[in-house]
């Protein structure tokens, strides 16, 4: 009897597996549209870019496999090293400023008054402008002769030490809307009861901010820092329009370097290699922040 039972059980198991596989595939039509977009617009370009970075190639089709030679060239390229330094410096100038100012504005405007609603709209409005408009406005402010800031003439766009801070100020003005909105959304999720409990616990404004508000929105703070880090590492338009990377590459960011190499010198393989390095930098920076924050949350 036992010998007869065994094939019956395994047959049932086989049918079960077939049914499970059929059920798994039946979900495919639902994910297929997104999967197609994901594969065609994200995975394929990513792999294609990595492959391209291993070639000496130009925009007109000539291509020759050269292994890691483009990467070796990049590490000895002073202009690229300058671009990396500039980009890190720019990220350091903008990300903390965007996070702190965004948080400050959100805290100040997290009320139900009409003025708050109006000011929230005003502060967010700069975010909907194109980079061209933003840089044209700030060009008027920053150019010493005929600019809005007339006295004394400070050469914001031609002094090597001032160009990146000037671009950073422009960028903070342009991008402040998103962090402010993210922080506002997070603040509105903090239960009102917690503030009332803190009031009954004799907690002042500052202590409530540090011990109740900030711990409640720390996940959003991490999201803001990661998003802004990814965005600001990709600085391009502001530097391209305000300074063209000058003077003497003092404001040349990595993306502008890639653009100049790829689309002005047509060395597309070399530009692809620089893009891959930027990709790795952003990935490492974002992951480092993510893991650092998770570790802090666990130890807290």
């Amino acid at each position: 009897m036992e010998a007869l039972d065994i094939p019956a059980v395994s047959e049932e198991g086989r049918l079960g597996r077939v049914r499970a596989a059929r059920e798994a595939w039946s979900g495919l039509p639902f994910v297929a549209p997104y999967l197609t977009v994901f594969l065609v617009l994200l995975v394929y370009p990513l792999v294609s870019g990595m492959w391209l970075s291993l070639h000496k190639a130009d925009l007109f089709g000539g291509s020759q496999f050269i292994g890691f030679e483009n990467y070796a060239r990049l590490f000895h390229d002073d202009v690229f090293r300058q671009a990396i330094w500039n980009t890190f410096y720019f990220v350091l100038l903008t990300v903390p400023a965007l996070t702190l100012i965004g948080l400050g504005l959100a805290l100040a405007l997290n009320t139900a008054s009409r003025w708050s609603a109006l000011l929230r709209g005003l502060f967010f409005s700069s975010s909907v402008l194109s980079v061209t408009i933003v840089t044209l406005i700030w060009r008027m402010v920053l150019v010493p002769d005929g600019g809005l800031v007339g006295l004394p003439a400070i050469p914001f766009l031609s002094d090597a030490k001032l160009t990146l801070p000037a671009i950073a100020i422009t960028t903070v003005w342009w991008c402040i809307g998103l962090p402010m909105m993210l922080f506002l959304a997070a603040l509105q999720q903090v239960p009102k009861d917690l503030y009332e409990a803190a009031a009954l616990d004799n907690s002042g404004w500052w202590r409530t901010l540090l011990r109740v508000t900030l711990p409640s929105i720390q996940r959003t703070a991490l999201v803001v820092v990661v998003i802004e880090t990814i965005l600001q590492f990709q600085l391009f338009g502001q530097a391209q329009i305000l300074t063209l990377g000058g003077p003497n590459n003092a404001s040349l960011p990595i993306v502008l370097f890639i653009y100049q190499i790829g689309f002005q010198r047509w060395d597309i393989g070399y530009a692809a290699a620089a893009s891959e390095i930027l990709f790795c930098i952003i990935l490492v920076a974002a992951m480092a922040q993510f893991f650092a924050s998770r570790g802090r949350e666990r130890s807290a």
Binding site: L194, E196, L200, N202
Partner: protein, 361 residues
């Protein structure tokens, strides 16, 4: 010295009045439960005492000190919120210590009070857990412990049992009653649940439509309701209210129901004969007897068996309905006619405005 004294407290939200001339005094060790339906103003009253809402007029004194202009943290009160409002990123120990640190209590004193409160509520093993790692009942106890360590002059509870399941609610109710017996501090407890009010309170304050309807011991509230609202809000099933007419009386008030006259023990008042009144009868005061032998007859429309007792719902010929509490062994079929009798001493009479005639004497 009183625990809490409210004098003529009123409050409006814009054009909407939410508290209307509330006056109440409670003893320094008294447990007062504010009972009322949703929207009656009971939570606003509690929040006004805590300082989480301002008041438009009147005064609030806690332990003999006027506090209505002081911020919440300086009123000497502690509150257990409906949602518990524990700080989610702090451990239970830190939650308890937070308020004490803010007022500069010494570290050793904080540690002592935290351990004492945790021991009292049997939650020492939970001190280093965060709220997310606690069950609903444990969070409830953590919130109570956070209130205890502050050693307040007045404890306040804002519907603290409403998020618990039935069994846990009954147990926590007993724990709160025990806690009050041990620490003998004024407690103000807000709820819409009459069982909580009846079991916990030294005194119940029934609120309705922004005003205090009646204040008294649980027995007074149940046995001698001042208004039809109190009579029907407290007690389950609610007190039967039947429209009757005043009959000529001497000594005690008589009335007629569907043409049949009956006696009460309510002292006679100056209500004119034939004036409309309302008769109140608790279900347990109604006796069923063979048809024709009671004050009036009713047709049984529904029987509810509850194990130890049953409720019988009867339709009266005049159109009213009445509920009678009977023994679980009561045998009667739906559709059967039964006589309805009651003890005159258990009958309540209310005037047309819903005020008790007993109290009008």
């Amino acid at each position: 010295m009183s625990g809490l004294a409210l004098k003529g407290v009123s409050k409006r939200f814009g054009d909407t009045p939410v508290l209307d001339d509330i006056s109440l005094e409670m003893g320094a060790e008294e447990f007062v439960v504010v009972l009322g339906p949703s929207g009656c103003g009971k939570s606003t009253l509690l929040r006004a005492v805590a300082g989480l809402e301002t008041i438009d007029s009147g005064s609030i004194e806690i332990a003999g000190r006027r506090v209505d202009t002081l911020p919440p943290g300086q009123r000497g009160v502690a509150m257990v919120f409906q949602s518990y409002a524990l700080y989610p990123h702090m451990t239970v120990r830190e939650n308890m210590a937070f308020g004490l640190r803010n007022i500069g209590v010494a570290r050793e004193e904080i540690a002592r009070r935290v351990v004492d409160a945790a021991r009292m509520l049997e939650m020492e093993p939970l001190l280093d857990r965060r709220p997310a790692q606690l069950s609903g009942g444990q969070r409830q106890r953590a919130a109570i412990a956070r209130a205890i360590v502050k050693e307040p002059k007045l404890f306040m509870f804002d519907e603290p049992l409403s998020n618990l399941d039935a069994a846990l609610r009954a147990r926590t109710r007993q724990e709160i009653a025990n806690l009050h017996r041990r620490i003998r501090t004024a407690m103000l407890f807000v709820t819409h649940d009459q069982t909580e009010a009846m079991t916990l309170a030294d005194r119940i304050v029934v609120m309705n439509q922004r005003r205090i309807e009646q204040a008294g011991t649980p027995a007074e509230i149940y046995r001698d309701p001042a208004t039809v609202f109190v009579a029907t809000f407290v007690g389950s099933p609610a007190m039967n209210i039947l429209p009757v007419r005043a009959a000529p009386s001497r000594g005690s008030q008589r009335a007629t129901l569907d043409g049949a006259a009956f006696e009460t023990t309510v002292p006679v008042t100056n209500v004119p004969a034939d004036a409309p009144l309302q008769l109140g009868l608790r279900p347990e005061a109604v006796r069923l007897c063979p048809a024709g032998e009671g004050a009036i007859d009713g047709k049984i429309v529904f029987c509810e068996f509850l194990g130890d007792r049953s409720y019988v719902y009867l339709a009266l010929s005049g159109g009213g309905r009445i509920v009678a509490q009977v023994d679980a062994g009561f045998a009667a079929a739906e559709g059967q006619t039964a006589g309805i009798a009651f003890d005159p001493a258990a009958a309540h009479l209310f005037d047309a405005d819903g005020r008790s005639l007993r109290r009008a004497v």
